[in-house]
Symmetry: C2
Subunit: 235 residues, 2 copies
DNA sequence: CGCCTGCTTGATGACAATCAAGTTTAGTGG
DNA sequence: CCACTAAACTTGATTGTCATCAAGCAGGCG
């Protein structure tokens, strides 16, 4: 199914807006003619777990979460994704997990078949895709350690430090301001906790002087070394 | 460093035994001249997390576990691996996790550089590697759901069903006998539990008639449908 | 201004970790 | 082959932690 049709059936309030294809910059976008820009509002579903992969979506702006759901509704968020990340992988038949927008999002979408064809003729692109997949693999192992063996405070510390990748502003004195576009519930479902526990750990960190909660979605890391110690990161 | 040297420094009681290179069959072994067969005894370490990847190891016989360790000793086993699985991935600099033998193991080892060169000229091999990586990725997401959102009994059920891949004997009446070469502690460290909890769940399943414990390392699945229901598998 | 949603804090209880003891299995040597 | 030892597994009792249930608070939008 074409992405417009798909989006229409998925989200009733989706408004298709094809914009002029972006050029230059970005991961896949250096290969023009095969892409379209789509725009989503917050809380819209881009793809469903288990659906046949027809298209790959490269995130241009905004934040996306991917997740899996058990049949009684329990949810695990497998990752948060931003600019340059790709939803859906070539060579595989079906989406591993569902993808839903958190903020307003623009994506650049490609026919899977065309990407695969390009990969065949262009070893550099193939290498990029492989590298991306391996990066994800490494991240997911790191996350498995969090979920399986870390305490809640350690998981949150790990999460916050990983969020530095998303950091917009670098504040003087090595403090980092990070943006958390996702809800507490999202963070909880990512860390295998409840939102209450996530809140409590945030409060704990605040009172311990490790962080400052400017707003619920804006946090300043005031003591990264201490957080790193807690996080027990391998890298 | 060459694998022999590495193995020597790693395990004091390692006995290097280069055998004639295997030919035909297997994943990578169709490309001869670049491989050597190595043999390990139970409990020996093949590679350390964080070490520079010089070699890739394809498992020929036996079972291997891969794991990550936190600085206070907590361990998470990221996977169990058997025939055809490859330890270490090309294009990446360092091993994600440590690999240790559970049973006696023979591996076929390849210089990473040579595999990469082959991948460049042989798109089929490249595709195979990518497919393998994607398969791992899918498995790891499934495992993340277990670790983050499933109850202990559900995790064990999931684990047992996944073990059917390793099943040696298919017993009449659709019962499956599975071999568990790993210890309870290994299973616990794989599922993010303690060995006591794993034991208790096994006992629970036994008394519920779901399984039979022939020996601690031999289990018959007597009611796979019920286990599947518990496991909440997506596939 | 007031409702609604998302966040925070508090009280309680369930469940799995921990601590501990006992049992089985496997391995070793007489 | 059997006795002995060590390791792995199992079961029990207790504790601590995090989920659950519940209520209050703050910010955003109509």
């Amino acid at each position: 199914m074409r992405p417009t049709a798909a989006a229409k059936t998925i989200a009733r309030d989706y408004y298709p807006s094809f914009i002029t294809p972006a050029k230059g910059a970005g991961n896949l976008r250096e290969y023009p003619k095969i892409n379209n820009i789509l725009r989503y509002r917050p809380g819209q579903i881009i793809v469903f777990e288990g659906d046949v992969i027809d298209y790959l979506y490269e995130i241009v702006t905004g934040t996306v979460k991917t997740y899996k759901i058990l049949n009684d509704g329990r949810r695990l968020i497998t990752g948060f994704h931003a600019m340059g990340d790709i939803i859906g992988l070539p060579t595989d038949g079906r989406y591993f997990h569902s993808a839903e927008t958190i903020t307003e999002v623009t994506v650049c979408c490609y026919r899977k078949g065309q990407i695969e064809k390009l990969m065949g003729s262009n070893p550099n692109l193939a290498k990029k895709i492989v590298k991306m997949a391996f990066g994800r693999l490494q991240d997911s192992y790191e996350q498995m350690v969090s979920l399986g063996r870390k305490r809640p405070d350690e998981r949150v510390a790990t999460f916050l430090l990983n969020c530095q990748k998303w950091a917009t502003v670098q504040i003087p004195s090595q403090n980092v301001m990070i943006n958390l576009p996702m809800s507490r519930l999202d963070i909880a479902d990512y860390l295998g906790l409840t939102q209450e526990t996530v809140c409590r750990v945030f409060s704990l960190f605040k009172h311990a002087g490790l962080i400052t909660l400017v707003r619920p979605d804006q946090i300043i890391l005031k003591n990264s070394p201490q957080l790193s110690k807690l996080a027990n990161l391998s890298e």
